[in-house]
Symmetry: C2
Subunit: 200 residues, 2 copies
DNA sequence: CACACACTTTACATTGTGTAAAGTTGACAA
DNA sequence: TTGTCAACTTTACACAATGTAAAGTGTGTG
């Protein structure tokens, strides 16, 4: 039945995530995934037409597990524009470490694979909409800094929240996740608030 | 003589840069480089032990051509801390597009090649020193925002000036180089100046 | 009982890196 | 003039990883 079909497919996707998020980081060659899933390498090609296809599917699979949409949508319930911006920044900032590994693979694959590139670009465009919504909320409240129009502010925020910047902050800079979030809150306030909250 | 040796080596390095900076972007497989240099593929291995070695050498070769050190050192002559920060940001911001292609290859190679990773990391550490010097100058003038200590400000600036952020700004955001520099000036002022210059 | 389907097994093509070793050439020295 | 050395070429091969192809296995359902 299709149950078996689904089970094997799921086993493969789970195996992919297991390898991607294992410590220390493991390789995720097609054969590694197959072995981890307890399945032949060819079985993987039976379900996914190539590695890019598998990793894109694994990304969606992870989305479901993390309930990504719901988590990011939560920031929309905030009352003020400021609260909404901070809620969005925090939600996304906490989301990155959970998807970081697979994001890296997808970004890296984007250099050669068109489908991977477009899958990642879609996610980034969705993310930009979240940035735009937060900036728009700030603007609607009249609390967006007059130094930016909404487009520019959105692009700056979008850039600040990139996976690469998280990686650089927590890697090269050696910041903890907590510090990363603190600095993100501080810098977004200084940049985007019409009247930045000053430290006492 | 060693003249011949040097000439072939130089030809190969130049060929590497020619391919890296060609429009549209060309592949830089060992065989492509060899063909471009008018030399056999094996000759490349005679001068460079592997692809990482070749690309690291090409990076240094480009440094010489661009007189990298001199350009970045120029920012140190600025009088005030504010001028110095802006001079450094502008110098680096204008430097990135000139090294972007080779930086990308080196970064990408860092995922698998230890030598490439450490070559790129060295450059980034050098760059961080430039950031630190600029922030220190601001701090010495008493014009560094009290919201940051010098370490944190350095790390934030360092992150802002990353190659990835340039790529995202001029690529995904669609900004021109001029706009990139303008936004960089604006955001660094808002973040790091004790008393940010306000738009009229 | 058979046959359909999911999966396995085996084998092979392809691409790019890197190694190995024999052959060629040209400049310079005896 | 000849010999030799170094730089380079040519040819060949090993290896890793992706992807294709096709025959074989085993099981549950009509």
């Amino acid at each position: 039945m299709s149950t078996t079909h689904t089970n094997t497919r799921t086993k493969i996707l789970q195996a992919t995530l297991d390898l991607l998020f294992s410590e220390p980081p493991a390789k995720t060659r097609m054969s590694d995934v197959a072995t981890q899933a307890g399945v032949s390498r060819q079985a993987v090609y039976l379900h996914f037409k190539n590695r890019a296809d598998l990793l894109i599917a694994a990304t969606h699979f992870l989305d479901e597990k993390l309930d990504t949409d719901a988590r990011l949508a939560a920031s929309r319930t905030a009352q003020s524009g400021r609260d909404r911006l901070q809620a969005f920044v925090t939600a996304w900032g906490n989301y990155i470490p959970e998807i970081h590994r697979i994001a890296k693979v997808l970004i890296s694959m984007s250099e050669t694979d068109e489908a991977a590139a477009s899958a990642w670009e879609n996610r980034m465009q969705d993310m930009r909409e979240g940035c735009a919504a937060a900036i728009d909320a700030l603007n609607a409240d009249g609390t967006l800094s007059p130094d930016f129009n909404t487009e520019d502010a959105t692009d700056v925020l979008w850039t600040m929240l990139s996976v690469h910047n998280w990686e650089h902050s927590t890697g090269a800079c050696g910041w903890s996740q907590k510090k990363y979030l603190t600095m993100l809150a501080l810098t977004t306030q200084k940049l985007f608030y019409a009247d930045p909250v000053k430290a006492p």
